[in-house]
Amino acid sequence: MQCSEARRLIGARIDGELDAAGEAALAAHLADCAECARHLVEQQEWHAAIKRNAARYTAPDALRQRLAAAVADAERPPSTPSRSRAGEWRQWAIAASVLLAVVLSSSLTAYVTRPNADDRLVQELVSDHVRSLMADHLTDVASSDQHTVKPWFHGRLDLAPPVDDLAAEGFPLVGGRLDYVEQRPVAALVYRHAEHPINVFVLPNRGGPAAASQSLSQRGFNLLHWTRGDLAFWAVSDLNLAELRDFQRLFDRNMAAAG
């Protein structure tokens, strides 16, 4: 037996993975080879030293608790408001990152209820939505004050998104953010309802006259699309469709009232 083969067997022996034939062959080599015999002793000592001294980190209790809560949340249908950790978006963000992986890897195979919808745009909007939750980057300007959020977009965008706080109706404004859709900067307005963040993407309306709102759902997210004047809107949320429609009606009504 070559020393190189003996060294391989020594590793397996240390790890308790050497069969009887290997054991016998190794013993025969060690009887003749002092170098390999010494190597075996060294390796045994290293093995023991690592076992004795290397850290074994244990999962913190906080992690176990967060995980239990997150799993409980993941089990709940998306329309049910979370009761366990009101105000805690972090677990949501992590659940979203799971979804992001699914969304990004599924390319165009996703289930879309409206076959004539622009699949790629929808993919992008959902990814933007998820990314905003995931990267702790929901807002560039965090404010429930429409008079802070609206001016923030001046000079950053060609369009002026309508910004109204809808807290009185159950949809408080969280803030605004610049995002990118089809390689163009767009406004993202962030609202929430109970635990559910809502991103409203505001784009220039290239689709012509006002159309009735369209809805689609993808990978657990609901999307609503509508237009008013020269603006097009996409709302994306894990909120159930009925509530998202309520939100859309309020949002659109306020915008119409503002002229």
Partner: protein, 175 residues
Amino acid sequence: MRRFEAIAVPHMDAAFNLARWLTRNEHDAEDVVQEAYLRAFKFIDGYRGGDARAWILTIVRRSCFTWLARNRPFELIAIADDDAEERFAATPDTETPDPETELLRRLDESTLNELIEALPPLFREIVILREIEELSYKEIAEILEVPIGTVMSRLARARQRLQESWRRHPVARIG
């Protein structure tokens, strides 16, 4: 839920230990484990019996490498798995005058942990899985998604790298 708890929860320490060693950071390890567990929860139907620990660690390990690719891409150096035997022969056993075992007695706990942390992730993880988690070659092969022969040669090289790094360490050299 109950099935998931039975399968995944008992191995949370193993999962966290692997993530903690790969991210080298408590906070990031928590995030990675949480993400991996939620992913495992989502794909629990894909678990068809067998080694539950290997199954969950496979998912955790993938999450760790995704995290590394995003946050520490410079650590992800490629390693070749086929030149192990060549290196066995090429390594002199007597780089220092001290016998190896004498040298090893001077290796304290914190230095050992630093040396393991300094290994490239592909070497670090295999040392953790074998020496600390005490997994079999078969389990490690499943988690790393490589053949058992690769586990053996990579483990040998990881150990060799670790031992060399101790021989070159200032504390070892000064004696």
